[in-house]
Each structure stands twice: as C-alpha cells, then as structure tokens.
Amino acid sequence: MKITDQIVEKHGLKKEEFEKIKNLLKREPNLLELGIFSAMWNEHCSYKSSRLHLKNLPTKGKQVIQGPGENAGVIDIGDNDAIVFKIESHNHPSFIEPYQGAATGVGGILRDVFTMGARPIALLNSIHFGSPNHFKTKSLLNGVVSGIGGYGNCIGIPTVAGETKFDESYNENILVNAMAVGHADKDKIFYSKAKGVNKSVVYVGSKTGRDGIHGASMASAEFDDNSDEKKPTVQVGDPFTEKLLMEACLELMKDNSIISIQDMGAAGLTSSSVEMASKGSLGIELELEKVPCREENMTPYEMMLSESQERMLIILNDGREKDAKKIFDKWDLDFVVIGKTTNSNNLTLKYNNKVEGEIPIDALASEAPVYDRKWVRKKISKTKIDLKKLKKINIEDALIKIISSPNHSNKSWITNQFDQMVMSDTALKSGSDGAIIRIHNKDKAIAVSVDSSANYCKSHPITGGKQIVCENWRNLVSVGATPLAITNCLNFGNPENEKIMGEFAECLEGIKEACEFLNYPVVSGNVSFYNGTNKKNINPTPVIGGVGLIKNLSKPMNLKFKKDNSVILLVGKTFGHLEQSCFLRENYSIIDGMPPEVNLLNEKNNGENVLKLVHDNLVLSMHDVSSGGLIVALSEMSIASNYGVKINKPKKLTNLLEYFFGEDQSRYVLEIDPKNQLKVEKILNENNIYFENIGFTQKDYFEIEGELKTNVKDLFKTNNEWYNIY
C-alpha cells in the first residue's frame, strides 16, 4: 500500500515529520510502521511541544526516589515506606464519552501506580466543566462523576479528594484529571527499564480488542463539529479485570521474577514495548500472532495501536515463566510470552514468522521531534477595580451569592457517589483542604490535595503558576502535613498558537519558581495540549496534585470549628486584593486585572510556623484562605461544624468588602483555645509572623460586628442547594 499524503495527514503527522520518518528509516514506512510512528510521535506520547519547558522544572530533592520519566513519581516517607503517585488527563475521551472516558482515566492512572509495585491507597480528581447553562454540561457532569465512581468503587480504592469547577471556557472541552497515590516498600519498587538480551516479554491482563485505536492521536488534536465521530477511539474500562490484574501483579512482585514492567496505556502495545526497550538500550521482538485477541482477524496494525484497557507488559527473569503463569491462572487472566528482548536496537514485529515491520527504537523515542514553539508573554493588565463605581452590595448578599454558586456549593452530591472509606484508612475525607490517608498498620499518614486556579493563570500565567503551587502547599499544611512533592497535569489549548504556548511557558516559570523556593519538587506529570474546539481554547489550567507527610497521626487536623468561645486568628497580611476575585466574578461578572501577588517568602514562613503550632497541639481547627477570601473561609468552617463566629470590624482597612472578600495569599484561619492564646501569639511574634486576632467562635450565629448576623443553619442550606436543584 502506497502511503499517500492523505494517509499521513489522517495519522496526525505533519509533512515534515513524514520526511523525517523516511530519513530515519532510509525508506518509506509501511502502514503498520507509519501507525507506530504516529502513536509514538503524537503530542500525548512524545511531549514534543512541552519537553523543552518541562526540563526546567525542579525534580530533585532528598525526599525524591524517582522523578519524572517513569510510570509514576516516587518519594521517601521514611521507615522503608515510599509513596508512588501521578496525575493524568483524560479530557478528550471524557468529552466524547463521559462515563467510559472518566472511568478509563482512573483505570489508567491506577495502573501507572501499581506497575511500580505500589498498592494504590487513594484516588483524587480535578474536573472542569463548561457553564452550567450549557446544554452539554449536565450530562457530562453526570457521566464523568459516575464514571470516576464506577471505576474506583468497584476496584476498591477510596476516592478521597478533588475539585469540581465550572467555567464557559470548558463548554466544548471539559477537563478530567485523575490522580492515584500508592504505597510501596522502598526496597521493592519496579521500573520499566528492560535489562538483558533474550528475556521473555510477557503479555498479561485483558485481551486486545479494536477499542481505542489511535486514542492518543485523537487526544493530540483539537475538536471540531464532527468530534462525535471519534467515539470508537474511546476505550472501554473494566474495573473488575483491573482489580484482578492489580492483585496478580502485586502477588508476582513479592518475589524476584520481574526485570521490568510497564502498563499498556496510551498507544498500548507500541508505547509499552518501545519505552521498555528504549530505557534499556535494547531491541524487542514481538510475535504478534500470540497476542490474546478479543476479536477475530485483528491485523498487526490494530494490535499495535489498540488501547484496550487493563493490560501489562512484563519482562521476566529466566526460568520464572511457569511460576508467574500460575499466579495469573489463579486470577483467570491471560499470560502469554509474546516476544523477547534483543540486541538489535530495533522494534521487530513478526506475524506468523514474517517480519511485518522493523523500526529502530531510537527513531521512535529519542529521535522523536522536539519543537521549540514560538511563544509570547502575556500583557500585564493594569485594570484596578474601583468599588465606588460599582453597584452597592452588602456583605451578606455577596456572601450568599458566592456560597450558593456552582463553584462554591457543597459538593457532597459528587463525593457521596465515591466510596471514600474502603480500605478503612481514610482519616479525613473530602470537604476539608486536603484528605488524610493513614499508612496501613502504622501511626503515620499522608495528606493529599489537588488544586487549580485557571482564572489567575489566564490573567497572569507566572503568578498563576506560582499561586497554584502555593495553594496546594497551603492545603496540605492546613491538614497538618509537611508538604513533600507534587505531580502536575498541564491542561492547555493549542501549542501551535503562540499566545497559548506563552501561557504554557509562563505558567511553568511560575510553577518552577514556587517549587524551588518551597522545596516542593515535581516527581511526575502529564501534559494535555489541544484542549479546545473550533479554535476556541480553554483557560490555561495547570492542576497540581500534592503529597505531604504526617509523621504521627494522633488527631487529624481539619477545618471544623471544635467549640464555642475559641479565639480566631488570621495569619498572614490582608491587603484587600479584589481583581480576579470570586467576589467580582460572582457578583458583577467582572473578570479583570491581575491576580493577587504571591510572596513566596511569606508563604513559606507562614506555613512553616503554622505547622509548628499544629505539631505542638496548639490549633483546634484550621483552614486556608483562598477563593472568596476571609469571609468565605470562615463560612466554610462554620458550615462544616455548625458553630458560628463573631468577627470584629477590622481596624486598619476601611473598605469591608476588600477586607472580607480580598484574595490575598499566604493566609490561614486558626481556631485557638483561649488557654493557649498567649502562647500562640508569643510564638508567632517571635517568628515575625503577621497575624490578627479577628474574633471568636460562638453558637449558632455567623456574625460580623454591626454588619451581618445570620444563622449557621441557613448558610448550610444555602451552601447545599445548588447540586440538588441542578
């Protein structure tokens, strides 16, 4: 078959990329080979537009065992315990087929974690939908939430935290990011690097079908009006098989059978075999007639490009095949030796002894294109909002508008559809700043959180990038954890557009700066470009997933007020920054100006000192101040606990709206027992931490001196309405 321009284009390859392929092969590829190049060279697998920027991120630290480049990142939490985690996007499939798209997103990220020898212990998600008024939003929300739940609930890993946001920029391109966290013994971590020639390459798990062919290429293109036609490229998940595969793999990992292991994710058999060979500087030869197939007459092309789920490729030590097969037989899973490692440095594909394709591994991996795409810096918006020019609004109405809005409403409609308790180690469920998961059979725990701030990133990507790292860091501090490392999921529009590429480059600058300053390295991640439809791009939405350590989990910290008559301290300075705030967005539909400034020094000092107070048992409850400002933070603490507050009028700042709704960073609300007040104030003063004593907790009423007095129960009702009436 002659490869025409049209066939090349259909494979998502540019003309010049096709020329490069011919040069590398020194001949024309056949269709199978072209398919394999397209699978390896697409944006999703090759990171061709992002790689130059990603390499600037800090990825090292004392706590890091494995940084980016493996199936997932690995960090050290002491006592031979390691935490393995990663976040990944499944945006495009979820828009086309929300249930399966979201479900297989969860399945894929779980495999990345247990591939490394870790038992998954927590799932998180960050999901962004279009405007609630958009006709697709409701069914997408329903489908995605039940897909996430359907997979996690069935496999029995608790879904413990997440964020759900609505904005019209996602109307035609939702975001579904799933994060998985696992626990492994530090000395029992498995990698994907192949070692040794003539070792058995084993296929385990589900059979291969025709689902998901070219899924990764689909995920590397913008949508147009015919996106529904792409439905057959979406994979179908089977959490039951994944559960069996997980148990079988973890059982096999108990002894020394495995040399290397890699899950078949995007670009299936192609990327898994190429990655293993590439990392080990080896060749790999596959006999494709041995691949277990679900459908009849599958061609080598279809087998190599299928993205059927719940499959793994394993390279075994000599003589271990029989024992390994026993384990997979026990779990009723396929186990077939389909090839071997070679010293040819080629990917060699045979079908019934005939060579159907042969490509140098380097051509697929290290020779894949890397683009230094043009990008431009974002113009700084000088808009200052003058409240006097806006229609007058009182504090109570503004607060109600915010806490009843889709973005701030209580999300138990969503979280109640996720099993948060299975495995019985969830010490703090979603609804606080982060979730806390105890390490099984131990006194220590990890805290996890996922965060994004697309509006901030849109208006000023550097500040936005910094802010999300800080917000994530702050969320872990707020549940009493020492933040250790992050994974990031970078969701952006079309990188061939220099403004979009600029958003990407500048967000990464911000992320880098904050991660370096906070010693908060990036250990894994994923880039998702081409999020947009018909040239309309999404807001830049980097999502940060963080993991922190709680050395001794005696009392999980959360945001619920514990009693009345406690002192409420506000740590961190309030300037009253309203531009890009939730207050202006929800009450005036104004999205303008710069996001609040991020001062990394204050962030670090405030966080570390607050953490010290928690460790000294001086804090009853705590919450960080973020979207919506101080008053929303206080209302969330009240709503969660049913205790009210009595807040004094601020002495310095005269404009109350700025004071209560400003989104200045690095701030925490602390509930302190009066008997510890002097001690706490002394510690904060000694460490030059700015704080204000803003009032105290009380029964029943949420009150601001002379301005507002409302029943906490009413706030609760207001906050819990939206999802149930939507």
Binding site: P239, F240, Q417, S424
Partner: protein, 225 residues
C-alpha cells in the same frame, strides 16, 4: 473464635473485615472462592465489594461459585454467617436469606455515614447493643434497596427478624431517614434461625475512632460473647 472470610474475585472489603476481626481477637483465615473445603469455622463472613464485577447481577455469580455450597452446608448446620453489603446480596442469591437488593432509589452509588437502629438486640450478632440503640455507620452501595414479598415482610416482623433499620439521629424511622429506598427502612435481616445476618452497612469500617467511630465494635464483641 474461628472465622473465615470468603474471598471472591472482585471482593474489596475482605482486608477491612480481616483487620477488624483480628483486632477483636478472632482467629481469622481467608478462603479463596475456588476452594472446595471450608476450614472449621464458628463464623463465616461474606465480605463487601464487587464480586465478579457485579456482572449479570450483584452477587449472582458468587452465589454459584465453588465454595458457596460449603457455606450453605455450614449455615444449614447452624454456623454463624455474616454477609456485609455485597455479601448480603450474595446471601440472598444463594437463598440463605430471602428478599433481594434492588438498585438504590436515586439510581446512584451512595457512600456516606448514616444512622441505623438496632431493632433486635437479642441475637448472637447484637447482644452487646442496647435495644433501639442508634449507630452511626457507613454505607457504600449501588444496590442496597431491600425488597421482599408481603408474606416475608410479615414473617420478618412477627419473628423479629429485622436486624437494623435506617433512622434519623432521634431514632425516627421514616422516609427522610431512608437513604436508598429500602422497604420499611430495612438495613439488615436474619434468617429464621437467626444464625445468618445480612446487612448493607459496613460494621467493619466502624472499629477505629481515628478513621470513623467504634459503633461497629459491639457487633464483633456480641459474636465473641
């Protein structure tokens, strides 16, 4: 006391119940579904999860698995059997318990802490609870909507075979305290001889105040009593 936890492919609360049993000093062992002989046990637990992926119908395939005949034999000889969540569904599929579990009324998976009332505290499973004691307990299921025919319902009431009912914090059993649409708020039932208990809520999740509370502890202590 010797306990056996039956493990099916897709069971996922098997570890949780094993941890709880061992914490309560049961001598526990895990029994794989392909076994054909059950070790000597005083208590058999059929745990929660998604046995066989819930394919065909929740619990249907597990109800026909190799080990299940042994469970039925032991139960008929009077061995104590506890089915939790998917385990309850499996027990109804085997016929050891009558009735069935339908899809939740709101057609969604529900995971939350709810309240149940100990309706009958005069059994092997509940003797350490007070009568009408209110427990805060976690549910996590898609098909927990208990249903049965009028004759069986009458029998359940007359013979005091209702183990737990969903209620509110004051113990009121009404529609607003019914999370899943179960007939008369029934959360758990016994067989005639009261040696078999099937329940949708998860007592094994309520044995540790660091992650939840200890409202499930007395169920295990009752069994040891």
């Amino acid at each position: 006391m010797k306990s056996s936890v039956i493990v099916f492919p897709g069971s996922n609360c098997d570890r949780d119940i094993a941890v709880a049993l061992e914490k309560m000093q049961f001598k526990n062992q895990m029994v794989w579904h392909k076994e054909t002989k059950l070790p000597k046990s005083d208590l058999i637990v059929v745990p929660g999860g998604f046995s066989y992926g819930d394919y065909l119908r929740s619990g249907a395939i597990a109800g026909k698995s190799l080990i299940i005949d042994e469970v039925i034999n032991a139960a008929n000889k009077g061995c104590l059997v506890l089915g939790i969540c998917n385990g309850f569904q499996i027990l109804t599929e085997t016929g050891l318990l009558k009735g069935t579990l339908l899809r939740n009324k709101n057609l969604k998976f529900i995971n939350k802490d709810i309240k149940i009332k100990v309706t009958n505290n005069n059994t092997k499973f509940t003797n350490k609870y007070q009568k009408a004691q209110i427990l805060k307990i976690n549910i996590a299921h898609n098909e927990g909507n208990f249903f049965t025919d009028p004759n069986h319902l009458k029998e359940l009431k007359q013979k005091d075979l209702i183990a737990f009912e969903y209620c509110d914090e004051n113990g009121e059993v009404n529609e607003s305290s019914n999370p899943n649409g179960s007939l008369e708020n029934i959360a758990g039932i016994y067989n005639d001889k009261k040696n078999i208990l099937g329940m949708m809520p998860h007592p094994e999740r309520m044995v540790d105040s660091l992650v939840s509370n200890k409202d499930g502890v007395n169920l295990f202590l009752s069994l040891l009593n």
